[in-house]
């Protein structure tokens, strides 16, 4: 980061290669598989380049700092354009249509792995932004609860409350989509 702050582009390229895929995974799950997710990821990397001198390693890990930037950009985006629709979430649905999973005939006979992934993506998209952020940051991004709370600017109890509601709402949504306990197995 010291080198990046001094304008070292090679150092920046190394950091971007290391962190951007993870940030993109986060923005994709929050914003759906739209261009907005890629655009937001690029913007996070641009902020890394422009604001490297502002980063204080004594306050947070670099990944936490980058996730905080990504989270704020995602929230700004969602507030400016409203909630994402289920049709926008990831390429999972289209991939399912183009390339059906070979494991279509499950014992339950209804869900392939891609179907279930699409159902989860759709369920996440239907969650309120704060519940979705809490669940995605804690479940997929390999961050501690304390770090997630810091990123979302809330306390641990509030984070736990969001997680309970998110998991409950997601389970209900999956059940409404036809998924039932045991289908994932």
């Amino acid at each position: 980061m010291v080198l990046v702050a001094k304008g070292d582009r090679a150092a920046f390229a190394r950091l971007a290669t290391q962190f951007a895929p993870r940030i993109e995974a986060y923005t994709t799950r929050i914003l759906g598989g739209s261009m907005a997710a890629q655009d937001t990821t690029q913007e996070v990397m641009v902020r890394l380049w422009l604001r490297a001198a502002d980063y204080d390693p004594s306050r947070a890990r670099l990944t936490t700092w980058l996730h905080q930037i990504a989270h704020n950009l995602c929230v700004d985006y969602l507030r400016s354009r409203g909630p994402i629709t289920t049709g926008e979430v990831t390429g999972v649905e289209s991939r399912t249509l183009e390339c059906p999973s070979p494991s279509v005939d499950t014992p339950q006979g209804r869900h392939s792995g891609d179907d279930l992934a699409a159902a989860v993506a759709s369920g996440l998209a239907g969650l309120p932004e704060r519940q979705r952020s809490a669940l995605v940051l804690t479940y997929y991004q390999d961050l501690s609860n304390r770090e997630v709370a810091e990123i979302m600017a809330i306390n641990l109890r509030a984070l736990e409350s969001l997680l309970v509601r998110a998991r409950k709402a997601l389970r209900q949504d999956l059940e409404q989509q036809g998924w039932r306990d045991g289908d994932a197995a």
Binding site: P21, T28, Q42, T90, G91, Y139, L174, D181
Partner: protein, 171 residues
Amino acid sequence: MQPSAMNERKALALLTTYGADAKRWPKEHKAALADAAKRYPRVASTLMIEAQLDEALNGYAVTSQFSLDAVLARVERVSASSLQTETVNATLLPKDDSLVSVSTSELGTLERLLDNLLAATPFALTRLGLAAMVPLAVGVWLGSLAMPAEEPWWEVEQTLFAPIAEEISHG
């Protein structure tokens, strides 16, 4: 070390918050929660349900479409843009002391005349007063050229004031 006992309610709350994967449980509760799952059938069944949701979540993988070239190109654009902005700010936007050092080509005729007459006078009010007087003086001068007196001024005055003089003399 024997884990401290955890009641059923607390165990259920932790499972519905963090799911069934023990590596996601808070460190201080891991042992007690695992123990509670063995002791309480309801906790054990909740563990199974949460494990299925975890499995569904694990199935949602996303493929990265990140392109380093695209990011570097964007950084180049932003850097060029910020450099351009800095250049514009440095060259075109006025600085605090630039009001007295504007090149004479940007001034109006009147301003240039004043500058020649009163080279860099520090008193802005004086300059304003003089600036107002110059067109007045020019106007008077032009007026005298355009309307030359056809008869001496004192004759006009004598004519104008004659009735008043006559009134005074008659008391």
